[in-house]
Amino acid sequence: MSFVLLGILNSQAAGGGAAGDFELLETTTLASDTASVTFSGLGSYTDYKHLQMRIVSQTDRSSPGTLDIISVELSGDTTSSYRRHVLNGNGSSVSSSSGTLGGRNYIGYTNAVNQGADNYGTTVADFLDFSNVNKNTVYRSFSGFTNSNASEIMLFSGSNFVAEALTSLKFTPELSSNFTAGSRFSLYGIK
């Protein structure tokens, strides 16, 4: 099994690969609180088969909220009904859910700044065969955080049932106004 395939299967990074097979494409580290983060022009990365997002994030959600949700908009599509399936553990029980959302989809959970200014959540997401125009856009993600009032570990699958190439990714906090300064969004290409 190739290192690259092993990396995909083992979810969000194992192995590595030869030089150039797993490459950093773009990174945004927020210098100030910001309402959304967008990676556009993904069509210029078609030398790569898959994309991976690695996110270290926090939002400005105020108390009594103890967590936040990261939403993603695919290819600027604000009208479709996105679909998701989720498996999560909250420290007490494991649950499974599914749902639809208009114009965006959930991709991870994260910490709210009121739970500690230095406490961030993490999400790693893979967008497979992202430039294929004959397949619906799908992703899977692995996300989690801990704080003194809530903790979550989650596995997501998300999709937009539109067969098109993925051209942009826009991330927004679902339950607050901004990602806080220091949040980092890194985009990688995998051959």
Binding site: R54, N90, G91, D118, F142, G144, T146, I153
Partner: protein, 156 residues
């Protein structure tokens, strides 16, 4: 290079822990890949910066499936349940070299005859991570000879 092997160890004899030291600080994230057998089916753990104050500085939430049941709980620094059949674990330390964040970790581990785990951990300290240790806290269960441990750096 974006994704680079920084260090690797294959055990010549059984050991209760493996430590990566003097970790290069020039990457964004670290990935530790463990492929192992252990002397018994047992919980294993992660530790950074030689800080053994597990009950104060480490927080982990986990969920697992296997043996026809699922469960979720919290722990200080659990890595998962490893076993005498082949097991594996992948630990991802995010923004490990930052000095303005607690250190967040995403973990997956599997035993071939017990559980599949997914975990999210946090080291509640802003210090950059310079050492990573995987261990059995009780110290009585060992990694078997032939077990492999690899450390990778991912640029950001």
């Amino acid at each position: 290079m974006t994704y680079e092997l920084l260090d690797s160890t294959t055990l010549a004899s059984a050991a209760s822990s493996v430590t990566f030291t003097s970790i290069d600080q020039s990457y964004g994230d670290l990935v530790v890949v463990v492929n192992c057998e252990t002397s018994a089916n047992e919980s294993f753990h992660w530790e950074v910066n030689n800080d053994a104050d597990y009950n104060t500085n480490y927080f982990t939430v986990w969920m697992r499936g296997g043996n026809n049941n699922v469960a979720s709980s919290t722990s200080s620094n659990l890595l998962g349940f490893l076993g005498s059949s082949m097991s594996n674990a992948i630990l991802q330390f995010m923004d490990y070299s930052a000095t303005d964040k607690h250190k967040s970790v995403l973990l997956r581990s599997n035993t071939t005859d017990n559980y599949v785990y997914a975990l999210a951990g946090r080291y509640a300290d802003n210090a950059a991570i310079t050492t990573i240790k995987v261990l059995n806290k009780a110290g009585s269960t060992t990694f078997s000879a032939g077990s492999t441990f690899s450390l990778y750096g991912i640029a950001k």
